[in-house]
């Protein structure tokens, strides 16, 4: 063995570190790293008012590493609070991929004793993503995103949830922010035209300040990380390039993603204050809230039915 790894930075701890936090430079052992991640998520949940006593909290659970870690941490930090969690898994109908992640989702919810609901594209619209992709000119991620959001919202509402938590981490958030800017998508940047928040179960992202590397490491340390197959449709060209660019910048200039999100939040707040909030409008076909006229899910399914 070529060299030792030193000691954990926590006072009095003699355990070897497993990582160096890029933000603070702390060298932490497994126990103190776990405590650090859980503390930051707890601060996000409590400081952001994401959960109130008596709430039902829906948690989007794909069965992948981020949402699995989210459910695990939430079940720990909320265990002494009167909050009912309901995990929601969407089965998009992707042969050779979804079966394994759904098994993983069932396994983690059983282990944590969390109520679990599985909803599917097939039950919702009679088609799997595999068949929709064959008949639609749209990118699979676009079709999937529209329908998945719809099903998650419907399941959260059905469960009586006050909030819908998703496993988006710092890397996901920074990538989306940069993509919105690169696409020149002002509506998304400042959320112009988003219907009244009361029309939707509000989404919360307790992992939004935790880098993906730390989310993964937490999963490994807790024994809940299982390498799963990659979605066969993965590869949204711009996100892939943005991810690579941001990772390079984060390595060369540590803190880039965190600073990006701080600036983006400030931009949203200031520019958003100068714009009018969108009123609630409802889709004439399905009655769901929309940004005006027919909702995207109905638009998408309508063109599918015409074919």
């Amino acid at each position: 063995m070529a060299g030792e790894t030193g000691r954990c930075s926590a006072p009095g701890c003699t355990e070897p570190p497993i990582t160096v936090l890029r933000g603070s430079g702390e060298r932490l052992c497994a126990r103190h790293f776990t405590a650090s991640v859980e503390r930051r998520v707890r601060e996000a949940v409590e400081g952001g008012g994401m959960v109130q006593d008596g709430d039902v909290l829906a948690v989007g659970l794909s069965g992948g590493k981020d949402s699995t870690v989210l459910l695990h941490i939430l079940s720990r930090i909320l265990r002494n609070r009167p909050v009912r969690m309901v995990a929601v898994t969407v089965d998009e109908g992707i042969a050779g991929y979804r079966e394994e992640t759904i098994r993983s989702a069932r396994s983690i919810t059983a282990a944590l004793g969390v109520e679990h609901v599985v909803v599917s594209f097939e039950d919702f619209c009679g088609s799997t993503l595999d068949s929709l992709v064959r008949e639609q000119p749209l990118h699979p991620c676009t079709i999937c995103g529209v329908l998945r959001r719809r099903l998650l919202q419907a399941a959260a509402r059905e469960a009586g949830a006050a909030r819908l938590a998703t496993g988006h981490c710092l890397d996901d958030e920074a990538q989306s922010a940069l993509m919105n800017i690169l696409n020149g998508d002002l509506r998304r940047i400042v959320r112009i035209g988003v219907p009244d928040k009361d029309a939707f179960v509000p989404r919360v992202k307790p992992l939004r300040s935790i880098p993906e590397k730390e989310v993964t490491l937490y999963g490994i340390v807790q024994g809940i990380y299982t390498p799963l197959p990659e979605c066969p449709y993965a590869g949204e060209a711009l996100r892939s390039d943005v991810r690579s660019l941001l990772s390079t910048l984060e390595y060369r200039h540590p803190g880039t993603m965190e600073r990006t999100m701080e600036g983006y939040a400030g931009l949203r707040e200031r520019v958003g204050a100068c714009t009018q909030a969108g009123g609630v409008s409802y889709c004439p076909d399905c009655g769901e809230p929309s940004t005006g006229g027919r909702c995207r899910a109905c638009e998408l399914l309508s063109s599918h039915r015409k074919r």
């Binding site: 060299g3 790894t5 070897p16 990582t19 160096v20 497994a30 590869g235 949204e236 390595y251």
Partner: protein
């Protein structure tokens, strides 16, 4: 020193003494996108490795 990549790529690296970060860069891997263990134990990127160490690189960032 053997460097195992998940799931099935293995590289033999002739290094007497280098940090994990240096080894990763040598192999064209961004340290932000991976987690590393040595002989089964998770280690930070500034750990010095070499000799007969067995290094496992867990890449969690995928293409899409």
């Amino acid at each position: 020193m053997k460097v195992y990549f998940s799931p099935d790529r293995t590289e033999e690296v002739a290094v007497v003494s280098a940090t994990v970060e240096e080894v990763l860069l040598m192999l064209g891997v961004n340290p932000v996108e991976v987690i590393v263990s040595r002989n089964g134990a998770l280690i930070p990127e500034d750990t010095v490795v070499g000799g007969d160490d067995e290094i496992r690189v867990i890449r969690f960032v995928h293409g899409g």
